[in-house]
């Protein structure tokens, strides 16, 4: 018998191949099972009265007329709901000093952002619930609002939580090396820029949606959850509704996109659980698009001042950043809203060597919707700041962007090593990926095209970016801070009597193809046809205990658990086969659903024959052989806090200096996610991520006025990137498997989102540089470009 380490030395039909996803055909035929498809007997529908003010005292709330409306089953004010749901606090102990006050499910006494739920109506239909919401008489006494984060810490800013004395939620500093000495060296050129990153949000195709179904006979609550972390939600519901964890079942069927939006605790959803329990009826809540814009977590919202000092040969002497992050009135529970800033501090400049690094991050409360983790948490900020500064320094030195990166990237043979911010890095390939990027994008030819275009008065620019991505997190991400979030995941593989595999996993599928790669791993490692593998994920009642899918951990952690479980089952099956065939286990293998002779490949026995014997005619087996034909294995990353990946991205843009429009002519991403399990799915993840990154760079922004009113709450006013404007996105790979696992897979889901914004920013500034202009604010809107050019002014 051989150990699992040799899996990739043997024939394997699936891992590494572009297998089509089994569920794609089902979804395309309209057979998806999303939360809103669920119709339960006696089900009622929830709608919420939401605060029209960014900050106000609730003077009175009269719900009598609403209660009398047709179809209404119940109405709760925030104060009434507070009797059934305990408040939560979005802090974690490893983020020392982070503070956030208790947050109720529905606002009590004071509203702190426009859109905060204030009262809940449950009625026979959503339309009737909305009719009743309109009849609630709410009287507010508006309070001054702290809206702009730059002013949130000023002494005359309204303090949102008076008990804290200021709007500061958290502050962290990082200092490595002697910054003053590094920057003061002779010949060091220093450039400083202030970057602004607007708020945007996930805009999932399926909005947040919940059906809560309470069975009083068993005191059991079932949550149908459109989200990413069923076991985490089980704990959250248990704690705040006061039910034992085991009496809560959380089921995620098909999820129409999540991007980190649906992994948090939303008061409206928890209140739906309380309502189901109180009414003893199933209650459905599906956020409409306006609610999504107002209450799905927003992302980013940073102002970062960055300074870089470079020697004459381009080497970085020092890099210094000061990040301000606006998070809304509370830190989100249970992951907190400080992780984004934390990541910015950890990741800025992480691809590069430098003599000194200094960073300060401050996280502030404001009267806007809450900000929290969204795809590529902190990455686009960290990458755009470091690589934007690096390009600016290159311009000051007259040095090509590729060359200045080559001078500074951590060498491929330098691992393991530590980043300037103290992150443990291993198995990265910055030099290889940059070299491959230069090759696949045809860098020299693009430069020639750029020059030719310039001669015609057409302004094109090339942006290059090198990046790291945090994937496969260990318990150091959340668990150590006290969050009820598993960092390990489990997989179960079961051989059924017919010879098929039933597999289940605690990682989840929200559209990216997790179920498909789990099946590939099980089929490949165990040795059956993939059509005979059935996958179950997303049900706390049936799958192993685990964290779900986030932080690009599904393939790396869930996949490794599946590999281990499939291998364990294979060993078991071969042991049984050895006994039944009177053959040495070493001489046997499982291929394409058959027990075969290892050396010749000749069939010895069908898997179904073996399984039927075990299940139906156990009497034929020796008494001491007690096969189970099922194996479960769990896996966590133990030797690193995170498994970093890296990549290099390039963008080619054309800026129309008359209209300010930026057209992305081409985009190239070279990604090293370790072992590629399914190249098609990895490429689509990278492409989807790049499109989301282009969205953040050019289009998407949640715009607030000075009173804290969100101004764009429709798909007409909030601009998502659409296919017609997107460039061809070329994806290429370098494969440096992580040594932390046998599978060797790192994450790939967030790279595009993390890297594309900085690449676009650099490309736009490359285009504008000969005109003496630059932009440092995302999204890079036409108006911002024309103002930078001085073409438009007030």
């Amino acid at each position: 018998m051989t150990g699992p380490a040799t899996i990739f030395d043997r024939p394997n039909r699936y891992i590494g191949t572009a297998e089509p996803r089994a569920d794609a055909a089902r979804l395309l035929q309209g057979r998806g099972r999303f939360v809103d498809d669920i119709q339960l007997p006696r089900m009622v529908h929830a709608a919420f009265l939401r605060s029209p003010h960014a900050h106000a005292r609730i003077v009175s709330l009269d719900v009598a007329a609403a209660r009398a409306m047709p179809g209404v089953a119940a109405v709760w004010t925030g104060a009434e709901m507070a009797a059934h749901v305990t408040p939560w606090v979005g802090v974690l102990t490893h983020l020392a000093g982070l503070r956030s006050p208790p947050q109720p499910a529905l606002a009590v006494d004071v509203v702190r952002w426009q859109g905060e739920p204030v009262a809940m109506v449950v009625a026979a239909t959503r339309a009737e619930a909305e009719d009743a919401v309109e009849r609630i008489e709410a009287d507010y006494d508006p309070l001054p609002a702290a809206v702009r984060m730059e002013e949130a810490l000023s002494p005359d800013a309204p303090v949102i939580h008076p008990e804290f004395g200021s709007n500061l939620a958290w502050e962290r500093r990082v200092e490595t090396g002697d910054m003053a000495a590094a920057m003061a060296q002779p010949g060091v050129t220093v450039v400083e820029r202030t970057f602004r990153f607007g708020r945007h949000t996930g805009v999932t195709l399926e909005p947040r949606a919940t059906v809560m179904d309470y069975d009083p006979a068993e005191d059991r609550l079932t949550m149908h959850y459109s989200g990413q972390a069923p076991h985490m939600m089980q704990v959250v519901l248990s704690r705040h509704l006061g039910l034992p964890e085991e009496n809560i079942r959380v089921i995620s069927n098909d999820v129409g996109g999540s991007f980190g939006i649906k992994i948090h605790t939303y008061g409206d959803e928890i209140a739906v659980g309380a309502a189901a329990r109180l009414l003893r009826r199933p209650v459905k809540f599906v956020a409409d698009r306006m609610e999504s814009f107002m209450t799905d977590i927003h992302a980013r919202d940073h102002v970062v001042t960055g300074r870089i000092g470079v020697h004459a040969d381009g080497r970085i002497a020092g890099l210094e950043i000061d990040d301000l992050t606006g998070i809304g009135p509370f830190s989100m529970y249970p992951r907190t809203s400080a992780i984004e800033c934390n990541q910015v501090l950890n990741l800025t400049g992480a691809p590069y060597r430098m003599e000194a690094y200094r960073a300060r991050g401050r996280v502030v409360f404001q009267n806007k919707n809450m900000m929290c983790q969204y795809r590529a948490v902190g990455h686009p900020i960290a990458m755009a700041v470091a690589d934007g500064l690096l390009d600016e320094a290159g311009r000051a030195l007259g040095m090509d962007p590729v060359v200045i990166r080559q001078r500074n990237l951590i060498a491929d043979d330098a691992y393991p090593t530590t980043s300037a911010s103290g992150m443990k890095l291993d198995d990265l390939s910055h030099q290889k990926t940059l070299a491959k990027l230069v090759e696949v994008m045809g860098y020299e030819a693009l430069r020639a095209d750029q020059a030719a275009a310039r001669a015609r008065g057409v302004h094109r620019g090339i942006g290059i970016l090198s990046m790291v991505e945090v994937t496969n997190p260990s318990p150091m991400f959340y668990g150590i801070g006290g969050a009820p979030i598993a960092s390990q995941d489990g997989a179960t593989v079961r051989l059924d009597a017919g010879g098929a595999l039933h597999i289940s996993s605690s990682v989840t599928e929200q559209g990216q193809g997790t179920n498909a790669i789990l099946a590939q791993i099980a089929a490949g490692v165990f040795g059956v046809d993939i059509g005979r593998v059935k996958v179950t994920t997303g049900d706390t009642a049936t799958v192993p205990y685990g964290g779900g899918t986030w932080a690009s951990r599904g393939a790396g952690i869930g996949g490794e658990a599946m590999l281990l479980a499939a291998h364990a089952l294979k060993e078991q099956v071969l042991e049984v086969a050895g006994v039944m065939l009177q053959a040495g286990v070493e001489s046997l293998d499982i291929r394409a659903g058959k027990i075969v002779d290892e050396a010749t490949g000749a069939e010895r026995m069908g898997l179904a024959d073996l399984a039927r014997t075990v299940y139906y005619r156990g009497n034929e087996l020796p008494a001491d052989l007690k096969p189970e034909l099922v194996a479960t294995r769990h896996y966590r990353v133990s030797d690193m806090p995170f498994v970093f990946t890296n990549g290099a991205m390039g963008a080619y843009v054309e800026v129309d200096t008359d209209t300010g429009f930026t057209k992305v002519l081409g985009f190239w991403a070279v990604e090293d996610c370790g072992r590629v399990i399914n190249p098609m799915l990895v490429d689509e993840q990278v492409r989807g991520g790049v499109v989301q990154g282009i969205g953040g760079a050019l289009y998407e922004e949640c715009l607030y006025d000075d009173q804290g009113q969100l101004l764009n709450t429709t798909m007409a006013d909030y601009l998502v990137p659409m296919a017609a404007e997107m460039p061809d996105i070329v994806v290429a790979h370098v494969e440096t498997p992580t040594k932390t696992s046998i599978l060797g897979a790192k994450g790939a889901g967030e790279a595009g989102t993390g890297g594309a914004p900085g690449a676009i920013l650099n490309a736009v500034n490359d285009a504008l540089a000969p005109l003496g202009a630059s932009v440092w604010q995302m999204p890079i809107t036409p108006e911002r470009v024309l103002r930078a050019l001085g073409v438009v002014a007030d």
Binding site: T125, R126, A127, E130, D131, E134, D288, R289, M290, D658, T659, F661, Y699, L703, L711, N712, T714, A716, D717, L719, P721, M722, A724, E725, P782, E783, L786, V791, V792, A793, D794
Partner: protein, 283 residues
Amino acid sequence: MKAAEFGYLRPGRMEEALQALAAGEGAAMPLAGGQSLMPMMNFRVAMPETLVDLAALAELRGIHDAGERVVIGAMTRWSELMASGLIAAEVPLLARALPEIAHPAIRNRGTIGGSVALADPAAEVPAVLLALAGVVVLRSLAGERRVAAGDFFLGHYETARAADELIVALEVPKARGLRHGFHEIGRRHGDFALAGAALAVAVEGARVMEARIALFGVADRALRATGAEAALRGAVLGDGTALDRAVAALAEIDFAGDIHASAPMRRHLAGVALRRAWAEGVA
């Protein structure tokens, strides 16, 4: 975002539709393609007591050749207009504008009458009608009246249509001998314009005899840029200074600012749109 309760009628005869509108005393609204009205109802911005669905009124459909004019029934859909050889041949400026309107799915239901009735300041067709001196044909129980496009669009979603009137048709003079230009600046394909210009220009020899310039997406409604028109009247084609003066004359317009573009930005983009429309179809 569910509509408030409403009543629904689907009259088979024009008379019934007009009666329903009159009886509604302002609380009855015509329903055409629903592409604007349904979202407005779901947002509860529009809360009609009764919807009068125009779908069964055959006389509101179709595109007819009426000699000097082309008559377009109010319920004619964008996709039908795009497929029309008559429009392509005789109203090329409209044909040029149609692909800029929304997306195919919306064009399969949205109607020209609905767009004109709504009078979105960023919609293309009101500007096209202004440039072509089109006429809006309205009917109520009191009878029919014909209102020039220039008198129809009054302000922000405000028109000369009374609540009991239906738009039954749009009349557009055939574009014999005119040169046309159209340019729209929008963030994404199918978006409403940040600024756009529709031009119909009479040229004799190398001289501009008359230029009708309509802008959209820049102010509270589609409007004629009369100062720019004056600057171009009599100009010699290829004389860039006349175009510069026309662009400068746009300053007279009360440009609107919103989250998509400030007023100075719109002023600038209107000039770009005018130059590009001119370059496309006139110069």
